[in-house]
């Protein structure tokens, strides 16, 4: 359940930006989480609610956009989409894949007042 640590990371970023940019309340939080980032979205939502309780983001809605997994197939020499690590290349069936995208988790933007 490392989502709790991740949610704390989100709250840290929110509080740091609140101090720097002068906002008092967060209405919306927009995250982008890659399909290959190893994050359970339900656990992330649960953890976010738990860690933001009683903070400036207590009322914030959490919007999470899933970013599709991308990989480079070393057999076909082109980019392909995969939704899980360990899946084969959808074109040639090879497992010689190098993940190139969808493995990050970003705090994109905040709706604040």
């Amino acid at each position: 359940m490392h989502e709790m640590s991740l949610a704390e990371g989100v709250l840290d970023l929110i509080e740091k930006n609140a101090a720097e940019q002068g906002f008092a309340r967060v209405l919306g939080v927009h995250l982008e989480i890659g399909e290959l980032a190893g994050v359970d979205i339900d656990a992330m939502r649960f953890s976010f609610d738990a860690v933001t309780s009683g903070t400036l983001a207590a009322e914030a809605t959490l919007d999470i956009r899933a970013v599709p997994g991308e990989a480079w197939c070393m057999s076909c020499c082109h980019g392909v989409s995969i939704s899980r690590r360990g899946d084969p290349c959808p074109d040639c069936g090879s497992y010689q894949l190098q993940v190139t995208g969808g493995n990050d988790m970003m705090l994109k933007s905040l709706e604040v007042e």
Partner: protein, 285 residues
């Protein structure tokens, strides 16, 4: 030195120090000298300066603020500081990850004894991560290495910050070898860079050969897989080649060694791998 952006969180973590426990609690005093950011819980976020002070009824002041920051940015800052320190001192740091019961601590104790017998030049320090108890650190000290226990409390993984403090306290010698024995967990430690040179994942043959597919993130993050307890293979229905094929499905570049920490099988290859990795660490590569 290590901690340039310290934000020690409140909680149940504790890092052993010589003779006493260093508890991380709110409002604690710190014994190391680094720039210290205050905890959010300290209430230092200043709400008074915002535009919301001039609130007019019926007028929405909501606005969008672009952040574009990786959620793990803070951990990655700590990890980078650790990595810089380790590189500067030529220390090879190996982060050992596995399920509970894979034989990590037994392998580590044997490795420490064998390396000391093989070559007196091998100075070894160990950071032990567990939710509770210092049993593992005691086993490691009994094997002759300098060891420090981190208890993560309810935490399921070590992070860059805890390891930074542990390195400060342990102060590994230049050109030495540092093992980090992570909390037994094949999921959470995958996401947290500690600044190590390599993650080494240990899978014992008493587990399932499909574990690399069940927990792909960890096997994708590791540079080396040790298949441990191979002396038990005659008594088990474990397909080593299927296990290796599964690991290479999620990580085509992963290296694999078959070992037994109690029987001694494959340990010379493991020590040769450490030698090679240590040579790279010494030249900063």
């Amino acid at each position: 030195m290590m901690c340039t952006v310290c934000g020690c969180g409140p909680g149940e973590q504790s890092i052993e120090t010589r003779g006493h426990q260093h508890e991380h609690e709110q409002g604690h005093g710190h014994e190391h000298d680094h720039a210290h950011e205050h905890h959010a819980d300290d209430g230092l976020v200043d709400y008074g300066q915002g535009p919301a002070r001039a609130h007019a009824p019926g007028l929405s002041q909501a606005r969008m603020v672009e952040i574009e920051t990786n959620i793990l940015a803070k951990n990655d800052d700590y990890a980078r500081a650790n990595r810089d320190w380790l590189r500067e001192h030529g220390v090879l740091a190996l982060n050992l990850v596995s399920s509970p019961g894979s034989g990590k601590t037994t392998l580590l104790a044997r490795t420490i004894r064998d390396l000391a017998a093989k070559d007196g030049d091998y100075e070894v320090a160990v950071i032990e991560g567990d939710q509770q108890t210092s049993n593992d650190a005691e086993r490691i000290r009994a094997a002759g290495a300098n060891a420090l226990q981190i208890n993560t409390g309810k935490g399921c993984h070590l992070d860059g910050h805890m390891v930074g403090h542990a390195i400060e306290t342990l102060a590994p010698a230049d050109d030495s070898l540092l093992f980090v024995e992570n909390v037994g967990n094949l999921v959470c430690p995958a996401a947290f860079d500690l600044g190590e040179n390599h993650k080494v994942v240990i899978l014992s043959v008493t587990e399932g050969e499909d574990k690399p597919l069940k927990y792909p993130d960890m096997f994708a993050a590791a540079d080396l897989m040790l298949v441990n307890k191979v002396d038990l293979l005659p008594y088990l229905d474990f397909d080593v080649s299927a296990c290796i094929a599964n690991a290479r499905r999620v990580n085509p570049g992963i290296r694999v060694l078959e070992v037994s920490a109690t029987g001694g099988d494959g340990l010379d290859q493991w020590y040769a791998w450490i030698d090679a990795a240590r040579s790279f660490a010494r030249v900063g590569a």
